[in-house]
Structure formats: structure tokens, C-alpha cells
């Protein structure tokens, strides 16, 4: 299994998401959490960024989406909402976590 890359800043604030995507090899997991979840909403430029990385798995933390008024059912295609328990499952499943 590959690593899980967590991204906790808005893509409009820092280059964390861009860097994580650049340094994540194929099969990596990308988990958007805290302000990182702003990258998961439909109808933005981020959709085309994420579409270029179909060799990776994308997740967004449901609790953080809901806290920000974002609907977990309206994410960019291919991004799966996960709850806190799902977050733990991901941490166990991947080799290690890289916080970006």
C-alpha cells in the first residue's frame, strides 16, 4: 500500500494540495480535511486539477464539510466523503501518513 497524504489548508491559501499531488506517487490516498475540504466542492478549478490524478484515491472529511456548510453529496466526482471512523480506517490501511 502507498501513503496517505492529508491536506488541511484551503487550495486558495497555500500550495499544499498542489505539492501533495506532485509528491504523491500512483496509488496514494489524498485526504482533504479542515480547510482542505474547500478543494472538494464542485464547480471550481480544483475539479480539473484533481481530474489529472486519477491514479490516486481522494477522500474528504465529512465532519469538516458539514461544519463549513458544504454538502458531502455534492463533491467533485471521484472524491469520497469519509467520517472520523473512516479516517481511522484509512490511517490503518495506508503505509503511513504524510501531513501536507
Amino acid at each position: 500500500m502507498a501513503d496517505l497524504f492529508t491536506v488541511n489548508k484551503s487550495p486558495y491559501e497555500t500550495t499544499g494540495l498542489v505539492s501533495a499531488l506532485r509528491f504523491a506517487p500512483a496509488e496514494s490516498g489524498i485526504l482533504l480535511l479542515e480547510d482542505g475540504v474547500y478543494a472538494a466542492i464542485r464547480g471550481t478549478h480544483q475539479a480539473s486539477v484533481i481530474a489529472q490524478h486519477q491514479d490516486k484515491s481522494f477522500y474528504a472529511l465529512q465532519e469538516d464539510l458539514v461544519a463549513r456548510g458544504l454538502n458531502p453529496d455534492e463533491l467533485i466526482a471521484g472524491i469520497r466523503p469519509v467520517d472520523y471512523a473512516g479516517f481511522v480506517d484509512l490511517v490503518v490501511a495506508y503505509d503511513k501518513v504524510q501531513a501536507w
Binding site: D3, T15, F23, P25, D95, V97, Q98, W100
Partner: protein, 136 residues
């Protein structure tokens, strides 16, 4: 299983990821202190500089006028603490108009070996993957 077995080993490969410029925040200095702790516990310690982290190594910095700590000299003695690899993102340097000659030399004084390696994306992916733990 891999993960569990790696935790049981006495020495693990720790990678410290520098992502921010040195003087605007304390992240760099605190990370560097953490590096020294890791090295003191005889772990295998490497550093990687990406994004604004590449500014950490820019030579000629002089903080006397700002009254803040100049921790640049610590980078130059890392070899004495058993740190033997520093990796820096070639693309991040280029984006910022920097190249190797803008950086402090980081060498092992005993052997004269240059500890700093300029890496492309693929090489940095490998460095990140190979570490047991990535601190950022």
C-alpha cells in the same frame, strides 16, 4: 504488518519536511530543534526542503538588525549530529529564481562530503516513500 514491524526496530528513518521560509514564523527553527532531538536518539535523520522551505538554506542571511535568532549555522553542523542527507526541491528553487550557489554549503567537515542533494519530483517521491515517519 510492515508498519508494525518497522515500529519495533530500534532505529527508524525520520524525514523532516521543511515547507516554510525561515524568519516569518518559528516553524523552521522548531523543526530544526526537533531534528536535533531525533538525531540525539540515534535515529536515521534526513531533511527535505520543498515549497518556501528552500528559503531556509539561502546564504548570507544576517538577522542582527531584526533581533531574531539566526539559526542558519545549525544547518552547517548537522553532520556532527549524524544527519547525513539533505534533499532540496530543484523545481521550488527554480520557481524562486534560486540555484545551488545561492545556498549555504552543507558539508561534512571531516570528509568534505556535500550533504545536500538537489532532487527532481520523482526523486523526492522516493525520499518521502522510503521514510518510516515524515514530520512536517
Amino acid at each position: 504488518m510492515n508498519r508494525l514491524s518497522s515500529y519495533s526496530m530500534t532505529s527508524r528513518h525520520l524525514l523532516y519536511l521543511f515547507r516554510r521560509a525561515p524568519h516569518g514564523t518559528l516553524y523552521g527553527w522548531e523543526m530544526l530543534q526537533s531534528v536535533l532531538v531525533g538525531a540525539a536518539f540515534e535515529q536515521q535523520v534526513s531533511l527535505a526542503f520543498v515549497e518556501d522551505g528552500v528559503y531556509q538554506l539561502v546564504r548570507g542571511s544576517d538577522t542582527r538588525a531584526t533581533g531574531t535568532k539566526n539559526f542558519m549555522p545549525v544547518y552547517q553542523v548537522l553532520a556532527d549530529y549524524g544527519v547525513d542527507q539533505l534533499y532540496i526541491d530543484q523545481a521550488a528553487l527554480a520557481t524562486r529564481g534560486l540555484s545551488r550557489h545561492h545556498l549555504w554549503p552543507v558539508t561534512d567537515e571531516e570528509t568534505g562530503r556535500d550533504l545536500l542533494t538537489c532532487c527532481n519530483t520523482q526523486q523526492l517521491q522516493a525520499v518521502l516513500t522510503a521514510a518510516d515517519v515524515v514530520f512536517s
